[in-house]
């Protein structure tokens, strides 16, 4: 899933303050933590309060979309949500949402309520969302015991740990696991340490030429 964090309220207020009638849309897609109708409603209340402090009155419409990265679904659903009164759209989706809507409504300002931080998974026991994929375009999980060094090693190293690996933890943060300690532990259990013998060449960054674009 795509992991996002909410932007500071002041930043969002700065975006929407020039407008009165604003559509706030959540996204029911993969975004975590959830940013659906409930969170869109909460945000509208916070903005109402924040607006009052700025002597600013808003008229919010609150709704949600199935997945904002799907331009067809989003186009169909937005038709019923956006009338002539709507002056701006505030979306709780990842970075894809504002871009989809911006293309669909070239005349309408659209603002993000979220910062998109990474592709991650939910660690239920720890109650955390953790980065697990860097979308590098050249998956190495087959060689690394299913543990991704590209997203989980601070240096994205491909040939084993750096000298800063201590007690299985990362040199930049002792609360984070050293991906290579995990990889080696796991490959050892699998009896596949020999998978690490080959010197991995520098990564092919051309695997995803930015901006990425494929014809599926």
């Amino acid at each position: 899933m795509i992991v996002t964090t909410q932007k500071p309220l002041d930043e969002i207020l700065d975006f929407v303050s020039p407008y009165k009638n604003i559509l706030i849309v959540g996204c029911d897609g993969c975004t975590q933590p959830p940013r659906g109708i409930r969170e869109a409603g909460t945000l509208s209340q916070l903005l109402d309060l924040g607006g009052k402090l700025r002597n600013k009155e808003f008229e919010f419409k609150v709704n949600t979309l199935v997945k904002q990265c799907d331009s067809h679904l989003t186009a169909v659903a937005l038709k019923d949500m956006i009338d002539d009164d709507v002056e701006a759209v505030l979306t709780l989706a990842c970075g894809l949402g504002p871009q989809t809507i911006a293309i669909l409504y070239p005349e309408l300002p659209v603002f993000p309520a979220q910062n998109t931080v990474f592709i991650g998974s939910e660690e239920r026991e720890a109650g955390t969302l953790e980065e697990r994929c860097a979308a590098c375009g050249d998956c190495v999980l087959g060689l690394t015991g299913g543990i991704c060094p590209v997203s989980r090693c601070a240096k994205s190293l491909l040939n084993g740990p750096c000298g800063g690996s201590q007690n299985g933890k990362c040199e930049i943060d002792p609360n984070k696991d050293c991906a290579w300690a995990l990889i080696i532990e796991r490959l050892e259990k699998l009896g596949r340490l020999q998978d690490l013998e080959a010197i991995q060449p520098p990564k092919d960054h051309q695997a995803v030429a930015r901006p990425g674009k494929i014809v599926p």
Binding site: N159, P161, G163, Q166, E171, P202, H205
Partner: protein, 303 residues
């Protein structure tokens, strides 16, 4: 193509002493030149660090040019943190063209530990890939397979961390570095000779030279700071107690004594092929350490 002076010494089996100088933050190199003059005849080679601890400084290559100018033998430290493969290769071409042939290949500390935390960490290559990159260039091709004009020959080394508490991953990386062409290793700071002995029992099967890293501590506070903040450093409680036990202002003296004692033991017991002294801002005291360790100035270099 002649070997570098340092490479010849590596092959001679004599006990080697290298040290390092961290370039200044700024273009005033007078103090660095002073240190180069002080050290060049006392050691076999001088490393110039490459934005040590990810703190932006005068470049390593510029420092090596100064070592050459002053008649010393430089070791160019190259990290992969700040330059992509184009810049790395280009710097190596410049180095070779100025007769700077000894290169210590490092991945480099994380950007996060330095003073430009928002910079993009490059890490287009890692230390193993850098070693191999140099061997590729020596074959006459750049990394994209294009011909290089003129022949190149480097003497290349890398680092290793014999005191890591989880040693297995370090040894896997060490063997990769050997396989990629490393001729010498300058280790992370050693404080416990037992771990060096253990490491050498293992490392002696490889045809490489190992120089034990000796960090000169100036106080118990510095030792604790390094334990907490410098990746890969483990100063033992015994050494911290020894430093804490001296009266105020005598910490560096004790640090010199500890460093000299370690070096003397390493040489007497023939534990490895030499030492690499890291005086961390106190470059001027290196000759005193060598004197206390009973390692006189290099007679061949003084002539």
């Amino acid at each position: 193509m002649a070997n570098s002076l340092f490479e010849e010494k590596l092959n001679s089996n004599e006990f080697l002493v290298t040290t390092e100088i961290g370039p200044p933050k700024g273009a005033d190199v007078s103090e660095m030149v002073h240190h180069i003059d002080l050290l060049k005849d006392n050691v076999d080679a001088i490393n110039i660090t490459d934005h040590q601890s990810s703190v932006m400084r005068f470049p390593s290559l510029g420092g090596c040019l100064l070592v050459k100018e002053r008649g010393g033998e430089p070791i160019l430290q190259v990290t992969c943190r700040d330059r992509n493969r184009l810049a790395l290769q280009a710097d190596l071409l410049l180095a070779y063209s100025r007769d700077i042939c000894n290169v210590l290949c490092l991945t480099g500390d994380s950007i996060d530990v330095g003073d430009h935390k928002e910079a993009k960490p490059v890490f287009d290559a890692d230390s193993v890939q850098l070693l191999r990159m140099i061997r590729t260039m020596e074959s006459g091709k750049d990394m994209s397979g294009e011909d290089l004009k003129g022949a190149l020959k480097f003497c290349i080394g890398a680092s290793v961390h014999p005191e890591a508490d989880f040693i297995e991953p370090q040894l896997i990386k060490f063997e990769k570095k050997v396989a990629a062409g490393a001729q010498f290793f300058q280790t992370q700071g050693i404080f416990d000779l037992a771990s060096l002995r253990r490491f050498m029992q293992y490392a002696s099967q490889f045809d490489v030279r190992i120089l034990a890293g000796i960090i000169v501590l100036a106080s118990a506070r510095m030792a604790r700071y390094m334990n907490d903040n410098v990746p890969g450093i483990i100063v033992s409680e015994a050494i911290i107690d020894e430093l804490a036990g001296v009266e105020k202002g005598k910490g560096l003296e004790k640090g010199i004594e500890i460093a000299a004692r370690l070096i003397k033991t390493i040489k007497e017991e023939n534990l490895c092929h030499g030492v690499h002294i890291m005086a961390v801002g106190n470059e001027r005291i290196v000759p005193e350490i060598l004197e206390q360790a009973k390692l006189p100035s290099m007679p061949t270099k003084a002539q």
